[in-house]
Point group: C2
Chain length 231, copies 2
DNA sequence: CCTCAAAGTTGCTCAGGAGCAAAGATAATG
DNA sequence: CATTATCTTTGCTCCTGAGCAACTTTGAGG
């Protein structure tokens, strides 16, 4: 058995309004691809040749600038599609996709993808919807970084991550991702120093408990307040 | 004659790989909508009920934050589609679309749009491509604002605008848009003061000539250098 | 259990740029 | 042509957050 099947594919936005049979045939057309931690599904500026759905593990989407800087654009968790630029023709990947832990993904090559899109028009419509969400998210994040200060951006990001991958524990919600201070800094557009200082401050206020690549939210409401309060 | 027809619709990404006849029938299904300067095609948080293509004039896409701040996300020039979120279901517009001068646009309502999308699957595929470009642009701008300083971001933005709407004059390239310092500030995520200072400095270096809501680029290469040089 | 590399913390310094205020330019209007 | 609203410039001050350095903590591997 080469890969974990998708549990309830009909719940995915991508497969909405497709029959179970159609979904099965689409899934069967994919090939699985496993990666070890640190390996890349694709690199920025590579020709976009495939579209992916992550089945297990976690993937980071990184963007490099010409002068060697880096930003962490998003963390992909199961079950989410990524590499959707491959749906467009003659594009290169605008980001690199790196496995942060052992990962399994379903892969559709470009030509196959085009066949599927014309055979199942709903698929294209659903893809539009997914892309629209991404556009919205990044417009929003652009506005945030342009108008809000670091503390608020960081609070929002941690809440967002908790929402995505949060795991309830007896003490609070744990962000189930190995994220260094550097990673967080890249996500909100600041430095690891400022992240470290901010987390320390929150810890002393009893809002969170911060460990090595680990964040436990003790008092979510406090973070929400920082994320939303007008100041 | 209620509106200017689209000159060469087959050149638009949206209509690629559709026959002239199909394009005609799609265009005929639209209704025209004229606005005066200052009026809005739609407002942020309104239910997304229509999709637009701008035929003449210029439209600003604005995003407001809960605390009253504002960012100028993009300027739409003819012939560009906007309001593409309407392609997705049950969404609200994430931005407001304001005419900056008298405008004409073609409008397709949501239900009509869905009919067209299922009748012409290529339309959906093309829409994905357009959305993919937008995602890329905002990912890029996010990375820029997160890693680069104001001067470079401003240089890039002005070059981008010149590329979009630049008009050649005997003295140089003029950005053919009435943009205040405030507008520019919102686009690159800074304040009108910093924009004003930066433009003044460039003017004293002979790179540009800056007027009231007017920018004339005398020495494009100088700007490119600022936009790209590693410093 | 010890060692070492990687991740995190925190003090200090400094600069980019925000924000206010006051004055100057520009364009629209009567 | 004068008036007024709007946009722009620029001096000044102050603060957020960047960046470096030195030190501490954590966890993986021998």
């Amino acid at each position: 058995m080469p890969f974990q099947p998708v549990a309830r594919p009909e719940d995915l936005t991508l497969f909405k309004n497709l029959s179970a049979e159609e979904i099965r045939s689409i899934l069967n057309a994919a090939r699985p691809q496993h990666l070890e931690a640190g390996e890349f599904y694709f690199l920025q500026d590579d020709p976009a040749e495939a579209f992916y759905i992550l089945i297990s593990g976690k993937v980071r989407l990184l963007q490099f600038t010409p002068d060697g800087q880096q930003t962490l654009l998003r963390i992909i968790v199961p079950v989410t599609p990524f590499g959707a630029v491959a749906l467009a023709e003659d594009e290169v990947y605008p980001v690199s996709a790196q496995a942060v832990e052992p990962c399994a993904a379903l892969v559709w090559g470009k030509t196959l993808l085009n066949q599927l899109l014309s055979r199942y028009p709903r698929l294209a419509v659903n893809a539009v919807k997914i892309m629209a969400e991404h556009v919205q998210e990044f417009q929003q994040r652009f506005t945030e970084i342009a108008t809000q200060r670091v503390e608020r951006r960081l609070a929002r990001m941690i809440l967002r991550l908790a929402h995505q991958t949060g795991v309830k524990t007896p003490q609070g919600v744990e962000v189930n991702l190995p994220l260094s201070r550097q990673d967080l800094a890249e996500m909100v557009g600041t430095t690891l120093y400022t992240v470290s200082r901010t987390l320390s401050q929150w810890e002393s206020q009893g809002l969170i408990r911060a460990g090595r690549e680990r964040i436990l939210i003790l008092h979510p409401h406090g973070l929400v307040k920082i994320a939303e309060e007008e100041t």
